[in-house]
C-alpha cells in the first residue's frame, strides 16, 4: 500500500520541532485522517483539536505546507506523491501543544463589538433582498484561518489595535442588517483598527467557507468609516442638514 510521509509539529510553548510519520494512503483521505492515524497507531499523545470532520465546526485549523487550512477539508492527493507533507499549528496564536493553539484572544475581541441594536417601533419583517448580503457573513465557522493569515496579526503582531478579518465580518453582518439601528463606524476606526487593514486579501484566499471577506465585508466597512470620518462633503451635508443623510 502506498504511504504518505508527514512532518508534524510536536511541542509546546517551551519549544518543539517537526517529527516524521509514515501513514498508509487511502482513497479520499484528508490530512485530518492521516493525523488521526498517527494518533491511533503511533503517537497517542499527539494533540489535535477537531469535531465534525465536515468543514463546519472550524476546529481543525492548521498550516499544511505553510498554508492555513482546515485539515478535514485538505485532501492528501492534493500534494505531490512521495513528498513530505508538513503539518504545523497556526502561527498567529500561542501554542498549547502540538497542533492545538490558544485562540481565546478572539473571544475577547468578540465581546467588544457593540451588539445587535434593534430598531425601535419598526415592523419586525424584512425581505430576502435585505438579508442576502448579511447571510454570506453568517456562513463564518470561526476557524480563525483568516486571523491566522492576516499579516497585521501574524507578522506585525497588532493584536493590541486590530480586531482581524473574522470580527470585521461579524461587524459587517450587524452593520448591514436591515433591523439594526447601531452605528459602529467609530468603533471600527478607533477600536477595531480597520485602518490597519491594507486589503491584501489573504483572508479571502484562505476562507474555507468562501466568504468574500475583503470585497464584501472589509471594503464596504471602510467606506462606511469614510462616510462618517473622512468625507468632507458628507460632513458638510450633516452640518447643514443637521442629520444623517438617507
Amino acid at each position: 500500500m502506498a504511504e504518505a510521509v508527514l512532518h508534524v509539529y510536536r511541542g509546546d510553548a517551551q519549544g518543539g520541532g517537526l517529527k516524521e510519520y509514515r501513514v498508509p494512503l487511502e482513497e479520499g483521505m484528508v490530512v485530518l485522517d492521516a493525523i488521526h492515524h498517527i494518533q491511533g497507531h503511533q503517537a497517542p499523545d499527539l494533540a489535535v483539536r477537531w469535531n465534525c470532520k465536515a468543514a463546519k465546526c472550524g476546529s481543525c485549523s492548521a498550516e499544511v505546507n505553510g498554508r492555513p487550512k482546515l485539515m478535514c477539508k485538505t485532501r492528501m492527493d492534493a500534494y505531490p506523491a512521495g513528498e513530505p507533507i508538513v503539518v504545523q499549528p497556526m502561527k498567529t496564536f500561542p501554542i498549547v501543544k502540538d497542533l492545538v493553539t490558544d485562540v481565546k484572544w478572539n473571544y475577547e475581541v468578540n465581546k467588544k463589538i457593540p451588539p445587535f441594536t434593534p430598531k425601535q417601533n419598526a415592523e419586525w419583517r424584512w425581505k430576502q433582498e435585505d438579508i442576502d448580503r448579511v447571510q454570506e457573513f453568517r456562513k463564518c465557522i470561526e476557524c480563525f484561518l483568516c486571523q491566522d493569515v492576516c499579516h497585521v496579526l501574524r507578522s506585525h503582531r497588532r493584536t493590541d489595535a486590530f480586531a482581524g478579518p473574522r470580527f470585521l465580518v461579524r461587524v459587517a453582518g450587524l452593520e448591514m442588517h436591515p433591523m439594526d439601528a447601531g452605528n459602529r463606524a467609530t468603533f471600527l476606526k478607533d477600536e477595531a483598527g480597520i485602518g490597519l487593514c491594507n486589503i491584501t486579501k489573504c483572508c479571502t484566499e484562505v476562507c474555507p467557507e468562501d466568504i468574500t471577506i475583503t470585497d464584501n465585508a472589509i471594503i464596504p466597512l471602510k467606506e462606511r468609516v469614510v462616510d462618517e470620518h473622512y468625507d468632507p462633503l458628507r460632513k458638510l451635508f450633516r452640518l447643514f442638514a443637521g442629520k444623517k443623510e438617507p
Binding site: E129, E223, R224
Partner: protein, 252 residues
C-alpha cells in the same frame, strides 16, 4: 484589544521566510513587472509632448487636449493626475502594490519587511487612501472626454468612418469605463451604504444598481489590468501612426 499571552512557536519574521512550497513569489513578481513596464512607458509617453495625435485619433494619455501656456512641461503630466490618483488609491491596485512593491506582505503567510511600527492606512500618506471616492468622481468626469474622443475617431475629414484606430480607442475607453464603474467606492455610493434595500422606491432602485455593480465589481482586477494595457496600446498605436511607422487600416 488584549495582548497575546505568549509568542507562537515560529513566527514568519524575516522577509520571504515561509513554509509554503508553491511559487508564491510568482504573482508579486509578475505584478511588479507589469506595473513597472506599463507605468514606465506611460510616464515616458507623457513626457514626450509629441506624436500623441494622428488624424481623428487622440492618445488617451493626452485626453482631454489642453493648452496651458503657463505650464512649462508636457500637458499630459497635468492631464494624467486624475487617472493616476484613481489607480493609485484603487482598492485592487492597493493590494497589488502593497504586495509587489512594499512586500507588506509579498504573499500570504510569507515573511515581510518590517519598517518600524506598522500603521497600515492609518497615517499619512496612506490615510489619504480614504479619499478614493473623490478620485472616482474625477475619473468619472474624465470618461466624458474619452467618449468624446471615440466619437471624434469616427469622423475622417467630416465623413463617417471606422479605422483600426477607432477600434483601438473604443477598446481603451470601453475598458476604462468598465474599470471605473466596477469601483468599490462607486458600488458603496450606489447602494452599498444602505442597510435596507426594500424600504423605499429609491432604495429599491439603488439596490438594482448595486446588484449590477456587484457583478461588475467581481471583475475589477481584470478590468484594472485590461484597461491599463488598452490605454497603453492606444498610445503606442497613435504614436506609431504619427511617426509613420504604421498605416491605419480603414474598414469604412
Amino acid at each position: 484589544m488584549a495582548q497575546r499571552a505568549q509568542a507562537a512557536p515560529a513566527a514568519t519574521e524575516r522577509l520571504g521566510s515561509t513554509d509554503r512550497r508553491d511559487a508564491w513569489w510568482l504573482a508579486p513578481a509578475l505584478t511588479a513587472l507589469g506595473l513597472t513596464v506599463l507605468g514606465a512607458y506611460s510616464f515616458w509617453a507623457a513626457l514626450q509632448n509629441a506624436h500623441y495625435e494622428f488624424g481623428p485619433y487622440l492618445s488617451p494619455l493626452y485626453s482631454p487636449k489642453v493648452v496651458a501656456p503657463w505650464w512649462p512641461l508636457s500637458p499630459a503630466l497635468l492631464i494624467l493626475i486624475p487617472p493616476v490618483l484613481f489607480r493609485a488609491t484603487c482598492y485592487y491596485y492597493r493590494k497589488a502594490y502593497y504586495r509587489a512593491f512594499f512586500l507588506d506582505p509579498p504573499a500570504c503567510a510569507v515573511g515581510e519587511l518590517h519598517l518600524g511600527k506598522y500603521a497600515g492606512e492609518r497615517k499619512f500618506p496612506f490615510v489619504l487612501q480614504n479619499l478614493h471616492r473623490f478620485a472616482f468622481y474625477l475619473a468619472f468626469v474624465w470618461l466624458f472626454f474619452l467618449w468624446h474622443d471615440v466619437w471624434k475617431a469616427l469622423w475622417f475629414d467630416g465623413r463617417f468612418g471606422i479605422g483600426l484606430g477607432t477600434l483601438v480607442i473604443l477598446a481603451s475607453t470601453g475598458t476604462l469605463t468598465l474599470y471605473t464603474f466596477s469601483c468599490h467606492s462607486f458600488r458603496h455610493l450606489a447602494g452599498g451604504g444602505l442597510d435596507c434595500f426594500s424600504c423605499s422606491a429609491a432604495a429599491r432602485t439603488r439596490h438594482g444598481l448595486w446588484t449590477k455593480l456587484t457583478v461588475l465589481n467581481g471583475h475589477h482586477m481584470g478590468f484594472a489590468w485590461i484597461s491599463f494595457f488598452a490605454v497603453t496600446f492606444a498610445d503606442v498605436y497613435v504614436r506609431l501612426l504619427s511617426l509613420g511607422v504604421l498605416h491605419d487600416v480603414r474598414f469604412l
